[in-house]
Subunit: 385 residues, 2 copies
């Protein structure tokens, strides 16, 4: 396998972007990445998207995006793994470059979620859960994560205050991110007293519905210096699955797929969780950040619930998590999220994160998952000295 | 890049399979392939599917299928390129094996189309066309292909009889295929006098709505003999895109993406169209078989329209096309179609096609496309001597 580097990135803001269609969003992000890398062509492209069919009535978006980007007739493939679609696209594009089949590969993610009403968005998102065993019976994602939160509280003594500190911390980070959908700080009291959604989860424990797109350009590491002085190496990739239905898992409070995808990525990168300087993890709900940092091994299990409150995972703490503001504050355009995480790590490792900068970051990790954790993907990125 | 071989295949019947769900179909095909290859594990898997979201309210089918197959926690990724989803999945899985990241990779395709009514199926399929430039204005796929047919008639003098001979020929082939949805012969008069759908296309020029699944197992060529005496080598792969909207193409009667994807596959395989012994091409409508065989170079452009009538593309002819019965007679479960084509070629090259056998076939080609040809994928397979 050839080593692979990221040589350029581009991203839209996240938000209710009513002036931009699905294709507009993708093209803005992709052109940004192409411009940033300074390439004059691409060899192929991958598009991560969860459900353009249900959100905007458009499948087959690989060739559509290639055409609107002005890059047809390049091969263009859409990949989907619910909210992990972006990172699965990255992994797939990376394997294409690693194989030697192509050199310059564009990988983007996009979702246009605000063209439908709330009920339709809830239905579309619920297609990431088991239709026969879960959704048919009426449950939606806040309900599934509320059950995970309840199980975590029961098993580990996690409290509503612990959950709420995750939101407070991520909004503090997001307030420093100009691309964030909700760049506002909230107090602990505001989070704890926000509208109940699915007990114990309240509105400010939940990531928003967002439009947005993000894209990166890949090439073989040994060609990267032609395009940029600061390529970032993809040091490791890991992907794993778990049973989709919560009821089929041994412990609903522990995310096996996150742990296994991380083990695979650490093994490939030949590093351990203690070597990671900065991480983006999948905080679609506040409880999921807690579950993810423990499954990733970034924080000991006994410390995970309290990590946000203690400052351990804040910028300036031992292991800063979700410096972008995370899905909670930055926004969660589901198909774009995995790539947006990669861009945050890319910029951290290049020292380009301004007020959010983690000083001296050399190794970064991005973890992205689908549904309630039926799929998880971990990438480890490295600054080239 | 490592060379890649197919070592086992499995497939459901095509049809209105009301007793089987999406996951049942996939598992039947995948277990068939696993059993056929005799592997005791898989390293990862890809699932081609066009629109499980619109057809059955289920996205995120990679991990779902891995779990129901009993193969979790392997990495499992869904890829989508409308009706070319199956072959794009094959290409993606092939690149993973070629890269060296994994050895034993399962690639399947599936679609469950008959759980919704005709209007909903028509809507779901139309998401493969340009939502803003085409579908919004009311056109559906029979209409798009009718325009291609009209353009072909105008430019090349193609007749309704030429179109109808494609259906007659493919139903003759399909009548010999026990997996076919419509294994019945039709006369030229029956085809020409069938119900008008979108002028000039009639019902018996159109492939059906189908349920079905198909799967193949891949491994590095140099490991293939451990599993089977008759591995089939993937000698070439090519993928290309075209503008999605017909109005944006230079010549709506010519499928550029098919030509370009073929050129890439021929180049990688170092063969030409004259070397091909048997081909499966994407005859979603009778006109598309004519357009495809000319773009693939299998038949000279002046002979393409008359190729079915003259027997050139029949079993026993110079270049037998759609020996399976094609999408028309075998059925067209859209996400599965690209893999089902590969299985027909695999069996032809192993001499296992019974009454449909093309004697002495050594090189076979499968061409699969999405929508009205916005994406096309070509694979060339070779019998190992």
């Amino acid at each position: 396998m050839r080593d692979v580097a990221i040589i350029g990135v581009g991203m839209t803001n996240c938000g209710e972007l009513w002036e931009q269609s699905l294709r507009d969003l993708f093209v803005e992000a992709a052109l940004g990445a192409i411009d940033d890398a300074g390439v004059d062509h691409i060899d192929s492209m991958y598009v991560g998207c969860m459900s353009s069919g249900l959100f905007v009535g458009q499948e087959h978006i690989g060739p559509l995006m290639a055409d609107y980007l002005g890059m047809g007739p390049v091969p263009a493939t859409r990949v989907e793994s619910a909210c992990a679609s972006g990172s699965v696209a990255l992994r797939t594009g990376m394997l294409e470059v690693a194989s030697g089949a192509n050199d310059i590969v564009l990988v983007g993610g996009v979702e246009k979620m605000t063209d439908v009403g709330g009920d339709e968005a809830t239905y579309a998102l619920a297609t990431a859960a088991d239709q026969e065993l879960e959704v048919y019976h009426g449950i939606t994602f806040p309900g599934l994560y509320a059950m995970i939160a309840r199980a975590h509280m029961e098993t580990y003594g996690t409290t509503l205050e612990d959950l709420s500190w995750v939101s407070v911390k991520n909004h503090r980070h997001g307030a420093l991110n100009p691309k964030a959908q909700f760049p506002h700080e909230f107090t602990l009291e505001q989070v704890m007293n926000s509208t109940p959604v699915a007990d114990p989860l309240r509105l400010l424990h939940c990531s928003p519905v967002s439009d947005g797109a993000a894209a990166v350009l890949l090439c073989p590491l040994d060609q990267a210096k032609k395009y940029t002085d600061q390529p970032i190496k993809i040091l490791g990739t890991g992907q794993a699955t778990s049973p989709m239905a919560l009821a089929d898992r041994k412990d609903p409070a522990f995310l096996d797929s996150v742990q296994l995808s991380a083990e695979r990525a650490y093994s490939m990168a030949d590093v351990g969780p203690g070597d990671i300087d900065v991480a983006e993890v999948h905080d679609c709900f506040a409880i999921s950040e807690i579950c993810c940092i423990e499954a990733l091994g970034l924080v000991e299990r006994s410390q995970a619930a309290g990590a946000a409150a203690s400052g351990l995972t804040a910028i300036g703490g031992r292991i800063p998590v979700n410096t972008s503001g995370g899905l909670k504050a930055k926004g969660h355009p589901v198909g774009a999220t995995g790539i947006a995480q990669i861009i945050e790590i890319f910029e951290q490792l290049r020292g380009e994160s301004d007020a959010r900068q983690v000083q001296g970051a050399r190794l970064g990790l991005a973890q992205n998952m689908g549904g309630s954790g039926a799929s998880s993907v971990v990438h480890i990125l490295e600054r080239i000295e």
